[in-house]
Symmetry: C2
Subunit: 212 residues, 2 copies
Amino acid sequence: MYRRKIPEMAITRLSIYSRILADIDDGRTISSKELAELSGHSDSQLRRDLAYFGQFGMPGKGYQVKELKRRIHGILGIDRAWNVALVGAGNLGSALARYKGFEEQGFKIKAIFDNNIRKIGRTLGNITIQDAEELGETIKKRNIEIAVITAPTEAAQEVASRLAEAGVKAILNFAPIRIFAPAEVKLVNVDLAIELENLSYFLAKARKGNDQ
Amino acid sequence: MYRRKIPEMAITRLSIYSRILADIDDGRTISSKELAELSGHSDSQLRRDLAYFGQFGMPGKGYQVKELKRRIHGILGIDRAWNVALVGAGNLGSALARYKGFEEQGFKIKAIFDNNIRKIGRTLGNITIQDAEELGETIKKRNIEIAVITAPTEAAQEVASRLAEAGVKAILNFAPIRIFAPAEVKLVNVDLAIELENLSYFLAKARKGNDQ
C-alpha cells in the first residue's frame, strides 16, 4: 500500500494543536478554522496535517474535542508513558530533570548519569545520579527507550554511541553540536538558538518595514 | 503591494538550512535537492520557503553557498548582533547563560536578573546577576531588545509584562506556561516537550509497524 511521507514539521504542529486543545473543554466541538487560528497556522495547513492520519471530524460540523485529543495523543505516542534517561547532570540537565512539562506529557525520567565524582550519588528531582559507567546495564534494567543528552559538547558523540549500544531507541541531543546515531535510532538535535532566530527575524523585518 | 503571509515554520526551516550551510564551503554551489536532503525536508518545500523572500540561485545551476548564507542570515536578522536579557538565574537560566549556540548566532547576553537575594551580585558567564527591580532601567540603558524568560512558572506572566513595559521588542518564554504580551511585542513560548513528542511519535509508529 502506498503511504505518503509525513514531514517532521507536521508532527511538531500536531504537538502544538495538542497543547491548544488541552485548554479546551472535552465536551464541545471545534472547527478547523478556530483551532488553526489559535495555533497560528492556516486552516488548510491544519486539515492537511490531520489528513496524513486519516479522517477527522465531520464536514461542516468540526471536530469533537475529546475524540480529536485522543487521536492526536495516540499519533504522538503520548497516550502512554515513556521511560527516559538523562545523560549529563550539569545546569541544563538539572533544569530538564525538574522541567514539569516532560512528566505531564508522559516522559518519566528514570535515570540520570554523570561522570563527575562530585555529582554521582547526589539526587536530582528524586533520582539518584549514577556513574555513567552504569549506563548500559541500567538502561536495559529500567526499560529505558528514550535518552536526553545534556553532556558537554566534546562528550556528546561518545554518549550517543554508548546509548545506541545500550539499546536506546530515540535520542534528544541538547549539546550544541550535530551528532550521529545508527539508522535504527531516531536522533533529534535540538538547537536552542533557532527560537531566538524566529524573534530576530521579526525584529529585523519590523526594522526594514516590510516582508523582506 | 500584495504580500503573502509567511508561515513561522518557514522561518524555522530557514534556520535549519542556515545550520546545514554553515558546514559547507563558501566557494561551492549547492543544488536545492542536495540542501533539501541534508536538512530532511523536501526539495519543493525548500524552494517554496526561499521563494517567499525573492529569487535565489540560477535554474539548473543551484545556489552559490556564500551568497545563500549571506541572504538567509539577512532574512533571519543574524547578520548583526542583538542584545539579550535573561530573567531568572535558576538551573535553566544558568544553562542558557553558558549556552555557546546563542553567542555564535549573534545573541549576546548583556544582563541577567533574579529576585533571589542569594543570587544577586554573583556572576554567571561574565555577567553580574542584577536585582530584578533594576530591570526597566537596565534594559533601556543597555539597549536590550530581546529577553529570555527562565523565571518560575508563577512569575513568568508578570516578568513578561514588565519586560514589555521596559521596551523589550521580543520575548522567548521557557516557563512551561502560555503567557501573553502586548501586540507590539513578539512572543514565542518554547515547549521543550515538543521535541520529545517528535521522538515518541517515531517510537509509537515503529511499534505499530505502519504510518498510522
